[in-house]
């Protein structure tokens, strides 16, 4: 894992990593990858992957409105809003 690999990952994850820390970050991410590479030695042929510890099925609720409109409460804590919309820098010219 070299600094340019980490830059690519950081872009995928939408994370800014400063130039002066990228070498250190690459090194520590590589160490973690090395740790998890121990998995490759495990024999897992035919083993069903386990996503939920109880192998429970996803529980779905019926498609009914249960909550009132809480837009104002949620937007009160937003960085920037206007007329009930979230503001971000212009995306399309």
């Amino acid at each position: 894992m070299n600094p340019s690999d980490v830059e690519k990952l950081a872009h995928l994850a939408r994370l800014e990593i400063s130039d002066d820390t990228i070498a250190e970050v690459s090194k520590s991410v590589s160490e973690v990858i090395k740790l998890v590479d121990q998995l490759q030695a495990a024999s897992t042929e035919g083993v069903e992957p386990m996503a939920h510890p109880q192998d429970a099925l996803q529980i779905l609720r019926s498609d009914e409105v249960t909550e009132g409109n809480v837009r104002d409460a949620f937007q009160a804590i937003a960085p920037a809003t206007e007329d009930g919309l979230y503001l971000v820098p212009k995306v399309i010219d």
């Binding site: 991410v29 160490e31 998890v36 590479d37 490759q40 083993v47 996503a51 949620f74």
Partner: protein, 484 residues
């Protein structure tokens, strides 16, 4: 008053020996005095606590028989609290004031418990030393130059320093049990699905579980009674009846079969911790328990599997923090990409970024099968080890952590060394099983934790074993020197 257990506080409140306002004021004053030294609370909610206490006093006067009515407790700052800043130990959420309560918080509110404040933690619960908190490190009440463990280090320190009689916490890979061990208190991580995760800020959704910290198994049982509930707002919460966890605390241990996994007593375990755990086993044997050596052969793969699954799930969960809807936003973003990248780059600390990157890598095209799928297969092997073991034993016992509390910075530059701190606790999360840590002695004047692991939904038995142990030993009553 701060030395009283939750059970004793409750009796005194019911008998009008003191009021909830008096008890709450006592813990607030003590916390204000001690917190500058230990940094265990991020926020003390004094005004609100006193208002809640006054409300509880009215309920008590009206004959409310809820055992927690009027009892002050602390919440880990990972649980959303309506109108009270919930930071998750991160700069990202330094300005986040949730407009709702987590189900766990609502459950305690309904029981009449009073919230004293929000406790410090590793950022987004990622860490085993509390050193990754944006709000600074928590000091261990037993050894102020040492870590309290993590990620629920603030909750553990608050309980150990008697700034609160009990606290909520969460455990993704050991974050309740390891700090409980390092701070000499009792901590319980329930079965995955026992406690609602709604409003509990997500780290790794298939592993995260809320739980409790207190100074005894009896108090932990009282706290779990109020915390556990089925919640349709959490799609992974399981609809199992919640027993009264205090009802079986005093069951006799005769005939109890305890398994000792050979993998938990091997290389890397501090010899004096091993000796303390072996002495503790003798106490349980005297109560009629039988001991059997067992094997959990895939134990060595637990940490590697965890460091695929937890980062993968965290990279997905933490994508919601984008600088748009709430939380930190960078100054003067030049375009949307800049807003995302700088808000996240500034808002997250080093360890959180590292795990997001590892998770992104493990989930990226071409690597998914080699990492995430493989880790989930290994996860099943680990679960099967436990299933097999529980054919022959009722509970599994071992050390909680391989070492006592270590000094600040001791593992600072070595993430893998820090990850190995959770070597005995992580497998329990992967298998979704309940686990407990209770104090069983001191090494270098620092507490040692004994871990108990149970079958799914067998919290009552863990609490029973822990309570019987505590009735025939006094480790749990030991308090840090210098803290009257």
């Amino acid at each position: 008053m701060h030395k009283l257990s939750i059970a004793e506080l409750s009796r005194n409140l019911k008998n009008k020996v003191f009021s909830s306002v008096e008890a709450t004021r006592h813990f607030l004053e003590r916390s204000k005095k001690l917190n500058p030294e230990f940094n265990a609370y991020i926020t003390l909610t004094e005004e609100q606590a006193l208002a809640e206490a006054a409300e509880a006093d009215k309920r008590l006067a009206a004959g409310d028989d809820n055992v927690l009515c009027g009892v002050p407790i602390a919440h880990k700052d990972i649980f959303c609290t309506n109108g009270v800043r919930t930071s998750c130990g991160s700069r990202m959420l330094d300005n986040f004031i949730p407009p709702y309560d987590a189900t766990v918080v609502a459950n305690y509110r309904a029981a009449g418990a009073v919230m004293l404040g929000k406790t410090n933690m590793d950022e987004f619960a990622m860490g085993s030393s509390n050193e990754t908190s944006w709000y600074g490190k928590v000091r261990n009440p037993w050894a102020p130059n040492c870590v309290p463990g993590g990620s629920s280090g603030g909750s553990a320190a608050v309980v150990a320093a008697m700034m609160a009689p009990g606290a909520t916490a969460t455990d993704t890979g050991g974050s309740i049990r390891q700090p409980a061990a390092l701070c000499g208190i009792t901590g319980l991580k329930p079965t995955y699905g026992r406690v609602s995760r709604w409003g509990m800020i997500a780290f790794a959704s298939s592993l995260d579980q809320g739980g409790v910290m207190a100074r005894s198994a009896e108090d932990a049982a009282i706290l779990l009674n109020a915390m556990a509930s089925y919640d349709s707002k959490d799609s992974t919460c399981i609809n199992e009846p919640v027993p009264d966890y205090t009802a079986t605390l005093h069951n006799k241990l005769e005939g109890l079969r305890i398994g000792l996994p050979e993998e938990y007593f091997g290389e890397g375990l501090h010899p004096e911790i091993q000796a303390a755990v072996e002495d503790a086993i003798k106490i349980l044997e005297k109560r009629g328990a039988s001991i059997k050596k067992i094997s959990l052969p895939h134990s060595h793969l637990a940490v590697p599997a965890y460091y695929v699954i937890a980062p993968a799930e965290c990279s997905a969960n933490l994508s919601r923090f984008d600088g748009v809807r709430y939380g930190h936003r960078c100054e003067d973003p030049k375009d949307l990409m800049d807003l995302f990248k700088r808000s996240r780059g500034e808002g997250f600390g080093e360890e959180v970024k590292r795990r997001i990157l590892v998770g992104t890598y493990a989930l990226s095209a071409g690597y998914y099968d080699a990492y995430y799928r493989k880790a989930q297969q290994v996860r099943r092997l680990i679960k099967q080890d436990f299933d097999e073991a529980f054919n022959d034993v009722d509970v599994i016992l071992g050390p909680t952590a391989p070492t006592p509390a270590f000094e600040f910075g001791a593992k600072g530059n070595d993430p893998v060394a820090m990850y190995l701190e959770d070597i005995y606790t992580i497998a329990t999360n992967l298998a979704g099983l309940p686990g407990m840590s209770i104090p069983c002695g001191l090494v270098d004047n620092k507490p040692v934790g004994l871990q108990l692991i149970g079958q799914a939904w067998d919290e009552a038995r863990l609490l029973n074993v822990a309570n019987e142990f505590q009735h025939h030993s006094d480790f749990h009553t030991w308090t840090p020197g210098g803290l009257a």
